[in-house]
Symmetry: C2
Subunit: 538 residues, 2 copies
């Protein structure tokens, strides 16, 4: 064996630390910046997502506009403007130019953003592709200003320059950035598709897009109501790990573990405390929570798992709503048939609540239009109402839809029928598979729940498709009989001496009159009924 020729001291002499900004500067593809079209969509996605969260938190019906101008071959200027609450001047730098900073990370509430990476990632991407800071105009209603914002990559700190106070006006935020290595394109992964889907999952917003060629597109507001505001809730005992429990306990200033448990978690009552005592007799629940040790915390978590709990509170989850989805799908896809399902909240990993909504649209503008005029099935994925356009192959939603035996539901080949499957997963915590948040991790409980939701919808679609098939069958039988009427009328006219046309008319009347009862036995259950109810059928 050769002698070691480099010592540990030499190897580790180069040991260095680096900032999270530096990490993402080198690995911007992890934030969604890979490929010119995808990078442009990522930028719009980050800004629009933040605007929506801010508007909803402030209780404002969102009006958002996105304007894209081409500067040179792969350099574009992007303006995203909203009517939200604005950002106060003392926060604006950190909010837009410090990776891992924000209002959402520590909260137990459902919002689109959760990481505090998105907007700072955009600033970083502008900087490394054009060297230009972003320009911000913000008004909180009371205070208005503009400024340039950049980022010191080595220290992950914001740099705010050229601050100007502006006159009053209504609140809102406008961000202008110049980005290189991007491209505008009306493809599946492009901004147009992204905004169309955003409108689909957020029927309460008004969205405007000005394309580089000047085309001005508006996705109008479909419902005038704000979605129900998600509530900050206490975590459910089943959703907590030993490490989480310790974190909470060590932050607590309470006197007794028992009180701390009741204050911190939902569904923990005096009765449940008694059950815990019974399950872990060795544990002293009168001790101070800040002195809780791992082993005791673990025994509490184990006890949590043995106790029967009421399900988590649902107020934390804010789904889109069955009726809202139906209206939005009708508005945007205008299909022949829609089936929408909102499932009851479930939990994953023991206690993290989530809700799956699913919709299937069939015919009309549903499916993905092919070059041959036909349409193929497509899956519209959403997490907390945000469209997921990328990394579909590694997403729980794709996995669930792929696992469904579509033939059972009258769809012989999903890839060759005009069908769109819409799935939205909502929850306080969505386990994304990557920092770019483009796919939901393939956790079994989530996949199963999505599958059930889509299969629920598919059953209705099945009835509808069977209805179409029955109707077609009846029509073809009807036509066959009608073909004989002409000949029969002639023959009867010869025999009886009456006018052929007269005989034909009476025959047709008889057949038409008897038509429905004649073929009643062919009808599959309620198939025909569903066809008639058409678009509003469920």
């Amino acid at each position: 064996m050769p002698e070691s020729n480099v010592s540990a001291e030499e190897i580790f002499s180069e040991f260095k630390e680096h900032s999270i900004s530096e990490f993402f500067r080198k690995n911007s593809q992890m934030l969604g910046y890979s490929g010119k079209v995808k990078s442009l969509t990522t930028i719009v996605h980050e800004y629009v997502t933040n605007s929506l969260d801010a508007c909803e938190e402030a209780g404002i019906l969102p009006d958002i506009s996105v304007e894209i101008k081409q500067i040179s071959e792969s350099k574009y200027g992007i303006v995203v403007k909203d009517n939200g609450p604005g950002i106060p001047i003392k926060i604006v730098g950190k909010a837009l130019a410090r990776v891992l900073a924000g209002t959402k990370f520590h909260r137990y509430i459902q919002q689109r953003g959760q990481q505090g990476i998105g907007a700072a990632g955009c600033t970083l991407f502008a900087l490394i592709t054009t060297g230009k800071p972003i320009h911000v105009i913000s008004s909180t209603g009371k205070q208005s200003f503009e400024c340039d914002i950049s980022i010191d990559i080595k220290t992950n700190s914001p740099v705010v320059d050229n601050v100007n106070s502006l006159g009053g006006g209504s609140s809102g935020l406008s961000i202008y950035g110049e980005f290189g290595e991007v491209k505008y394109e009306r493809s599946d992964h492009g901004v147009y598709e992204y905004l169309k889907r955003t409108a689909l999952s957020n029927p309460h917003i008004s969205l405007r897009l000005v394309e580089p060629d000047g085309k001005d597109i508006v996705f109008p507001r479909a419902v005038n109501e704000m979605p129900k505001k998600p509530k900050l809730i206490k975590p459910h005992p089943l959703g907590v790990g030993t490490n989480d429990l310790l974190e909470f306990a060590h932050r607590s200033t309470g006197r007794k573990i028992s009180q701390f448990l009741m204050d911190t978690f939902s569904r923990v009552s005096q009765g449940k405390i008694a059950e815990i005592k019974e399950l872990v007799p060795s544990l002293d629940l009168d001790k101070e929570p800040r002195n809780l040790k791992w082993d005791d915390a673990e025994s509490i978590v184990d006890a949590f798992k043995k106790i029967k709990w009421i399900a988590p509170e649902l107020d934390s989850v804010s789904p889109i709503g069955e009726e809202q989805i139906r209206v939005a799908i009708k508005n945007i896809l205008n299909p022949e048939f829609i089936s929408v399902i909102e499932r009851k909240p479930r939990v994953f990993r023991g206690g993290i609540p989530f809700v799956v909504e699913a919709g299937i649209a069939y015919g009309g503008g549903a499916g993905k239009a092919g070059n041959d005029g036909g349409a193929s099935g497509n899956v519209l994925r959403f997490a907390n109402k945000v469209p997921l356009l990328f990394d579909g192959s590694s997403c729980a939603i794709t996995e669930a839809v792929k696992g469904i035996q579509w033939k059972r539901y009258g769809i012989s080949n999903f890839d060759e029928e005009p069908v769109s499957v819409f799935v939205n997963v909502s929850g306080v915590y969505i386990p994304y598979s990557g920092v770019g948040k483009q796919a939901i991790a393939q956790e079994e409980e989530i996949i199963d729940e999505i599958k059930l939701a889509v299969m629920d919808c598919a059953r209705n679609i099945n009835k509808y498709i069977r209805g179409i098939r029955n109707k077609n069958l009846q029509e073809s039988k009807y036509k066959t009989i009608m073909r004989y009427v002409n000949q029969l009328s002639s023959d009867l006219s010869d025999i009886t001496g009456r006018e052929k046309e007269e005989i034909k008319k009476s025959l047709e009347k008889i057949i038409e009159g008897r038509y429905e009862s004649l073929f009643k036995e062919d009808e599959g259950e309620d198939g025909q009924q569903l066809v008639e109810r058409g678009v509003t059928g469920e």
Copy 2:
């Protein structure tokens, strides 16, 4: 429209910053910790990868052992031990318990690790699943010690406890950790498969695995030579963006931009400087690099793109080597046929060098064994010699292999033949699609190059499979003729009165003797020849 009911000041009053450790504590699935089997493999992967990098940097042929013990249902203890250079005591905390710290991030050299996340991620995962620090024994040869290492999540700082000096001995590192939410399983995604593939792509290592049931498995060293050491190189002008150039320039203490360019990048000569001057006459290359501005940097990068350059230096890339791959595949899969290709280095994104090696193994132990005794095609993915077991569907390697028309190469259905496709992508910088480094981002230039490499191999496989088919065809013709020999011998015996057996023997001799020339015209080019060369054929 409703009135805004929450002000910007209220919303942003909760604005907080959080550490990268905190981020990954909440999103450990992004580091590969999702699913019990996958989580266990991720831990082993991180430690083994670090051990291999350290051994190779120190010039030591790696001996690595992995021991896995079950503690309770989903809690396991893992020991990973190597004969590497060890870690000095003053570095050990940061090296194993600070996310985004390491020796590799800023270097332009090919190594398995590049992010400074892996080992600290393991410590974090131990902490959040069992609350236990990891126990480390390190010897640099001169200095030996043991200690416990934990991590202060809020500040992303290491906590080193219970340090004990130990007696001397040879160098090496041993890490013991206890992890919850994990499971040992001999599945496709398990530790056994991971180590088997590690042995496949690193024929110079000796690898031992002790499974929880005590089974002791050794993947022996296949070659006794260290791989050629990758060299630290200067970046190629075509691989640099404006932002990179500015970074380099602002760190420079040189006097002139021209000299700085020649010192910093490879292939930049006085002649090239003259070309740059000609392309950007307005630029003063005698100015100090530390004052370089974005526009000037951009014009230099634009000029770089217009100049003809010699390809990047190849010393930076350390592929496995054609012969090494062949030996390893034979050792571990023992197939009937192997074809291996090492392509010339290429560049992506203009100037980042990478090398693709591909191998195809057919028959024998190749392919993925099915329950029915048959085998199906599988893809063995590697990046810098590290097996990639997860996220296959989003990986450039899978995408490339999927895009090949296997029928053209004699494989009528990839999913139903005993074929393994081996692909290793090596380079100073691999664009992983996620922090967990389980898939290579689908960059077009990389996909294309992988495709070419695999198709090169496939051509040889095609010849081999055609050879088998021809041989089968010949054998069947031979058998048909032989069937007549018996009857013919009887008849000739009747006619001539000579012994039947005697006649039969002479007939057989004639047929056998003429067999080869008889069917020579049926042979596809060099098919038969390849069959005979078998395992070493190419």
